[in-house]
Symmetry: C2
Subunit: 321 residues, 2 copies
Amino acid sequence: MVSIKQIAADIGVSAATVSNALTGKGRVSEEMARRIRLRAEELGYRPNVTARALKRGQTGILGLVMPDLTNPLFPRIAQSLSEAADARHLGILIADSRGSAGEQRNAMRRLIDRGVDGLLVVPQKGSAPEAQAVPMVVINTASDPQNTVSSDHVGGGHLIGTHIAELGHRSVVLLGGDAVSEVQQDRIAGMRAALSGRAESAVRWGAAGIEDLPALIRDGATAVLTTSDHLALQVQSALAQAGFSVPRDVSLTGFDDLPLATAMHPALTTVAQNVPEIAMRAIDAICARIAGAPASADSQTVPTRLVQRASTRSLHPTDPT
Amino acid sequence: MVSIKQIAADIGVSAATVSNALTGKGRVSEEMARRIRLRAEELGYRPNVTARALKRGQTGILGLVMPDLTNPLFPRIAQSLSEAADARHLGILIADSRGSAGEQRNAMRRLIDRGVDGLLVVPQKGSAPEAQAVPMVVINTASDPQNTVSSDHVGGGHLIGTHIAELGHRSVVLLGGDAVSEVQQDRIAGMRAALSGRAESAVRWGAAGIEDLPALIRDGATAVLTTSDHLALQVQSALAQAGFSVPRDVSLTGFDDLPLATAMHPALTTVAQNVPEIAMRAIDAICARIAGAPASADSQTVPTRLVQRASTRSLHPTDPT
DNA sequence: CTGTTAGCGCATTCAC
DNA sequence: GTGAATGCGCTAACAG
């Protein structure tokens, strides 16, 4: 590796001057600066980030803690975060909290031991990560009050609920995957609120909930609103098996707008999170905190978007389809 | 942050002795070592990895370059890699090559600039990442001769092809997503080889290929073998729309064993990659290279596994269903 | 057995 | 405008 002092010796000047010329900080004659930059270029000089980090006390690395790297949303989050971090010349070190709050804490500690400048954490279901020695921004759980950036899950549920109500549905089933998840609770709450006064709604959870569906439909339910696309696919399969067709017999919606939403037939009506926006805000927030901003108590909420496709049907006699 | 010298000053001993006591390297009296460890514990001392990295010339960080973080397999790879790396006290810094070979090179360079000790790269379709200043291990493309660990894609295709042939299918369609992908070519090649002499096979690619399916089935094809689960879901949807039912009218298979394979109905027969094994070998290989082993020309191949579910049907009159 | 010295590569004083 | 000195925190080599 070519170091600053080699190019210094090479030109016959001191290391400090080279540093100054390259960073543009100190005052160096334009002529000298030019020569230095040229030689650095020739030698393929790359500043040693480790040395710089030691000197500055900052590594330029952010830690990303996910509840489960297997999460279907992880790819998008990682990508958007990586892109946003990149723009600020920050790197992202990943860690998996493997489904337990204890492992989550371990993962955070390992990252901190590695010297990350800040922590981005997507918390374990039902756990609030505790404050640490480094700035932290929590993603996707509005229920945690501090430094949180999150999708408006309630709003998303509201979007779906309103859509379904406007389509004329009067009896709908709300299906969640796991009642422990605050995110899913929020989505369901949004749906209920939108439906309230316009339609009956029954809430069900998990595999048992899926089994209840055929009976509920026979009792008059005309729509099933789920809290994830994956769940919706399972529902569609189960319903097909029971002889119900989507959207003819029953309307169906998902949540998240995963790739599978368009691979399904009918294509799934769902709610898309604005992941890039969340990522950008999260990175902004963590950078602000690193730069010294105090931990703010307000949480940012990013709007979601209804993606209307073919799995929902209007019940108004006048409408086509 | 509490440093080694603070605890040294604290106890009235030199920094070197503390270092020795804590790492167990130098010879320190057991008595002294005990006192030092105790005090370190009390003070909550954590070694500064940056300083250590500067001294040692190694950061303990591996760079992971993915062709597209949005890749549905990324979560598993990231998780398995992260776990395997963890066991060796290595961190993983991610980077996205965003679909282009050029960006792939940039990503690698950024990672190297950050001082990673080695690079794990899942290459861009149809691109062979060029050798770099740090050890590199290529994942999942056997076509690159150097330091590669890959699933046996050909073998996987063979597994599926054999399965279908044994079920009595005599005319099958092989459907790939993108002909540029060597991985998909390998899978198709394996299928063809297994089918050769036992059944007719036609190869189709992409969306156009999906459109051809109904006609091919009417012409007598009884099975569609795809190179990904995602593709299989699309096929199932398109087929349902055209009035064909899986597996009654046509058998269908996927590849990768994504979560959606079990969410579908019928559950998808597919081929699972042994991702944890690949990850472990990749980490082993990169560690060996970092430790000084020469770049070996041989590539490691990890067997795949047939996951037989409900989307394939036997055509033998004697068999049930 | 323990302490001192030195230096990893860089950036920041402060002299010159 | 430029350079010498200094130190970030740690560890290897050597001296005591």
